[in-house]
């Protein structure tokens, strides 16, 4: 076996051209993200691309650039001086200085390829540029970059691999056929499929180096994380379309997870709601896995930055957090995640369907209701004292005389008083706060509840995606002494849709968001804790399988085994029959088909034709039996012999000719 082509052997012009053509596309793409991540200025990247285009154009024109050694050394020396100036005076930072050095080196190498070894050096420099771009990119569009580099990288490497065995310029057709599109697609798909488990399986010893720059709007995170909520920031949170959580529920449970309860507020002061101390001792939910009772749990994947409240549907019976995570039980059935968690997954078991009732006993203290609101409530309620009717009046008033808007005018004084008496425009929290305060003012136990309403059905799954726009506020009030029932005074135009599929554009937009969510959560922010979660889930799954198997142990009986084996045998029989049928249906080669037709013609003229009669004898007998058929018969037999025994392919024209000859023979017969 010959040794590798000597790396030190000088490249001919043709081979240099081939190397430049192989490397240039990948080189063009490699530094692009650096222009967006601050790794290089756009002007420098544009300069690099222009120089690369020149090198490429010269190579394609058959005159690849080859800088003389002297010029190369001078350029290197000049860049060395520039580097000193850049580091000491311009102070671009380490990433930029390194990037510029790599860009310069890549260009210098591509402009002065002398040996195959130098082409490999250029490849190494391009790889380092790719590393710099990959490690500094945090945007979801990096996925496109990775895909593009994978494709161009495969092309470049495949071509370099072929060029390594050429000592002269390869024929043009070499680059056209290496790699073939099919193998590129198969290779990339296979590598992509393998890449996923490797990425998630590689050990993480540190937390993620970079996370998404804007995982959630500040307002949104404040709304979700703080133990207070103010009227003015809630509107900003509702304008966000960031994904707050994703939940999966059985189809029959979907109507019950439309409204998710997050926090309960009972104290209001100057536009800010805070949680009260609570009237009863906090009672945590049991963590018993709901599956044990044969019901599918509601699974929620909640995105949180700091400590936050858990979103729970009405009728929650048990809450089971993922392993190693914890939540603090507060009063009124509110759970708060322990600090330092960025996201949380948990399962919720639902009780039997029934009227929605808010847990806990705390309510707004009527003495804390601002006097303007109390006075207004009295005016609205009039002489009505029945709680349900009082609420109807309040609701009617709010719906008829007030406008729903996410951008209420700036308030003068107390925002709630301003809303009720002056602006008469606000979002759901204004409506809910007003109703709660007015009910409290009329002596009805009421409180403000925040949470979410509705969501978007997932693009790929049946999950429901809850975004910032689905955040909502409503009232819980004890109207008939049976507990806190849910009251929603917000006009219908302000209540988020229960479940939407959306238009095509919305779906596309949602797809982009899903990708962004996936990239932020599953790629950029992936960490050892996620691996731990996966292991826990796998362990739980295995223990579930083991449990199921032990449950089935008693159910397996001899007839079941017999029936199972019978089913397997029938399936195997069907598979064999289908494959045999397909094999028989395989088209016969045209020459064989024509020869068999000739045999049939002979049989028609002379009677039985034994299978032992060889082709040449068939032709001879036919020419004797059918004057004028010799030429056609011989031609058919000759082509049949060369096709069946010589492996010769029959061309399309020959096939037509065969058919014509067979037709002539049949007419003669």
């Amino acid at each position: 076996v010959r040794r590798d082509a000597a790396s030190a052997k000088p490249l001919s012009d043709g081979l240099r051209r081939a190397y430049v053509e192989a490397l240039a596309p990948a080189a063009a793409l490699a530094p692009i993200p650096l222009a967006f991540t601050g790794g290089a200025s756009i002007r420098v990247i544009a300069l690099f691309e222009a120089a690369l285009a020149l090198l490429w154009a010269r190579a394609r024109g058959g005159r690849p650039v080859r800088m003389p050694d002297l010029a190369l050394n001078l350029a290197g020396l000049a860049y060395f001086l520039w580097l000193g100036y850049e580091v000491t005076v311009l102070r671009h930072g380490l990433l930029r200085s390194v990037t510029y050095l790599l860009l310069f080196t890549a260009l210098a190498k591509l402009a002065s390829l002398k040996t195959p070894g130098e082409a490999r050096t250029a490849l190494l420099v391009l790889f380092l540029l790719t590393l710099a771009a990959a490690s500094s990119s945090t945007h979801v569009s990096s996925l496109l970059y990775f895909a593009g580099m994978a494709w161009l990288g495969l092309r470049a490497l495949a071509r370099l691999a072929v060029l390594a065995d050429f000592e002269e310029a390869p024929p043009q057709r070499v680059f056209r056929t290496v790699p073939t599109p099919a193998i590129s697609a198969v290779g990339l798909l296979a590598a992509g499929a393998l890449c996923a488990p490797l990425f998630y399986g590689l050990p993480r010893l540190k937390g993620p180096y970079a996370v998404a720059p804007f995982r959630m709007d500040d307002n949104l995170s404040t709304v979700l994380a703080a133990d207070r909520v103010d009227l003015e920031s809630f509107g900003a949170a509702k304008r966000s379309d960031r994904v707050v959580m994703r939940l999966t529920a059985a189809t029959e449970d979907r109507p019950r997870v439309v409204r998710l309860r997050e926090a309960v507020f009972t104290e209001y002061r100057d536009g800010v709601w805070t949680r009260g101390p609570g009237s009863a001792r906090a009672r945590p939910f049991p963590a018993e896995p709901p599956e044990r009772r044969g019901r599918e749990p509601v699974r929620i994947d909640l995105a949180l930055f700091a400590k936050g409240f858990l979103f729970l549907p009405y009728g929650t019976e048990s809450v089971r957090l993922e392993r190693s995570r914890s939540a603090r039980a507060l009063s009124d059935g509110v759970l708060q995640a322990s600090p330092g968690q960025r996201d949380l997954r948990y399962e919720v078991g639902l009780a039997r369907p029934g009227p929605a009732r808010g847990a806990g006993e705390s309510a707004i203290d009527p003495r804390l209701v601002p006097p303007e609101i109390a006075e207004f409530a009295a005016k609205v309620a009039g002489d009505e004292t029945v709680p349900v009717r009082v609420y109807r009046r309040i609701e009617e008033r709010l719906r008829k005389g007030y406008v729903y808007t996410l951008e209420p005018p700036a308030a003068r004084g107390d925002p709630l008083v301003d809303f009720l008496l002056r602006s008469r425009a606000g979002h759901c929290e204004y409506f809910a706060s007003s109703a709660a305060m007015m009910l409290a003012a009329r002596g009805i136990r009421a409180r403000l509840v925040t949470g979410s309403y509705g969501g978007e059905l997932g693009i790929f799954t049946n999950s429901i995606v809850v975004r910032g726009e689905n955040l909502h506020a409503w009232v819980e009030a004890d109207l008939d002494g049976t507990g806190f029932s849910v009251l929603d005074p917000t006009p219908p135009s302000g209540v988020p849709e229960a479940a939407t599929r959306g238009s095509l554009w919305r779906r596309l937009s949602a797809l982009g968001r899903e990708l962004e969510f996936f990239y932020d959560r599953r790629i950029l922010g992936f960490e050892s804790l996620d691996q731990q979660r996966f292991l826990d889930a796998a362990r739980d799954g295995l223990s579930g399988v083991a449990g199921a198997a032990s449950g089935w142990k008693g159910a397996i009986s001899l007839p079941a085994i017999r029936n199972g084996l019978l089913a397997v045998a029938v399936a195997a029989g069907v598979i064999i029959a289908v494959s045999e049928w397909r094999r028989r249906r395989r088209p016969m080669p045209p020459a064989t088909r024509a020869y068999l037709a000739v045999r049939r013609v002979l049989a028609r003229r002379t009677g039985f034709v034994s299978p032992a009669i060889p082709p040449a004898e068939v032709a001879r007998r036919l020419s004797e039996a059918l004057p004028g058929s010799a030429e056609d018969a011989n031609a058919v037999v000759a082509l049949y012999a060369s096709s069946a025994f010589g492996g010769r392919e029959v061309a399309a024209e020959e096939e037509l000719d065969l058919a014509e000859r067979v037709r002539r023979l049949q007419r003669l017969a």
Binding site: V1, L124, S135, P170, T177, A191, Y209
Partner: protein
């Protein structure tokens, strides 16, 4: 060279070593920084390496290569080989293949073979040494798909290749006439010598110059002279293949030169119609004339191996009348 599979040679290339090194570097960087971008690159590199190994193996394994010589093959002379390639893969074009043979000036590019495609080509090559080739130093080479490994699959031989020695022109030994002392009695044969053998009637194909005009006039029929063949004595070219030290390159070189001279002499003598035989220690070709004898002598020379002088067998005995000529 690591031999993982029979008839396969798999070797990691310099580029492959560099690739593994870069994987290590990226792994260290990713672990130290926790940068998931680097983890993604690392996963891509490892996945590409795995897929590359699979595709590469399938690419080379799916193609069979068989070679056979076209005509006679002489050492150090241009000769022709027929190469038959077939892609046995049902799906998957075999690509980035090179045919490699020690007789070729370099690797020969093979255009991609579609699934099931058969291709035949004749290549010109040069075998450097005489001998019998049973395992050809020829086969398919590929760095497909990204050049991490260099895989070589040896070609199969349709039949063994006998590489004849490169004939060296030298002074041809004079063959003493058959009638000379020591010659053996022989039956006279028709030929083109000077001695008259008989007179007979003309038959188509006879040379008109042999017409015996006087006798024809006498008998009023065409009569021709039939001449006797001129025969030299059969020459047995002999090469002493016993060497003191079979591992000594100088001795072996001397033997090779003697074999080359012997081949040259044999070809010259046979081309003149003489009877030529060959002898060495442990080898013998009975003297005869003609094309078939040419092949016999050359094949014997191609297969001749050096034997240690201590255990060398004697030369086979000569037939009566054969004339031995030692070639050195």
């Amino acid at each position: 060279m690591t031999r993982l599979i029979p008839d396969w040679e798999v070797r990691i290339t310099n580029f492959g070593l560099g690739y593994i090194l870069m994987c290590l570097v990226v792994a260290i960087a990713a672990t130290n920084t926790g940068n998931n971008g680097l983890y993604l690159v690392l996963a891509g590199l490892l996945a590409a390496m795995t897929v590359s190994g699979f595709l590469s193996r399938r690419n080379v394994r799916g193609v069979s290569c068989e070679i056979e010589p076209v005509g006679e093959v002489f050492a150090a002379q241009q000769s022709f080989l027929r190469v038959r390639l077939e892609n046995h893969l049902r799906a998957g074009t075999a690509q980035a293949l090179f045919f490699l043979h020690e007789g070729l000036p370099g690797p020969l590019w093979i255009d991609p073979l579609k699934p099931g495609e058969k291709r035949e080509m004749v290549v010109e090559g040069r075998f450097p040494r005489r001998g019998v080739v049973q395992r050809p130093d020829a086969g398919l080479l590929s760095r497909f798909p990204i050049g991490l490994f260099r895989k070589y699959r040896r070609a199969a031989l349709a039949r063994e290749i006998v590489v004849f020695p490169n004939p060296e022109s030298c002074a041809v030994p004079e063959a003493p006439p058959e009638e000379a002392r020591g010659g053996r009695p022989h039956v006279s044969r028709r030929g083109t010598g000077f001695d008259l053998r008989t007179l007979r009637e003309f038959s188509p194909g006879d040379d008109p110059r042999d017409m015996h005009w006087k006798q024809s006039a006498r008998m009023r029929r065409w009569i021709v002279r039939e001449r006797e063949a001129e025969r030299g004595r059969a020459i047995v070219l002999t090469v002493d293949n016993a060497v003191d030290d079979p591992s000594d390159p100088a001795s072996l070189d001397r033997l090779e030169r003697a074999i080359a001279r012997c081949a040259g002499s044999a070809l010259t003598l046979l081309s003149r119609g003489g009877e030529v035989g060959f002898q060495a220690r442990g080898a013998r070709v009975v003297p005869q004339a003609g094309q078939a004898q040419r092949a016999r002598v050359l094949e014997a020379l191609a297969r001749l191996a050096a034997v240690p002088a201590q255990s060398a067998p004697p030369f086979p005995p000569l037939r009566r009348g054969d004339h031995r000529v030692m070639v050195t």
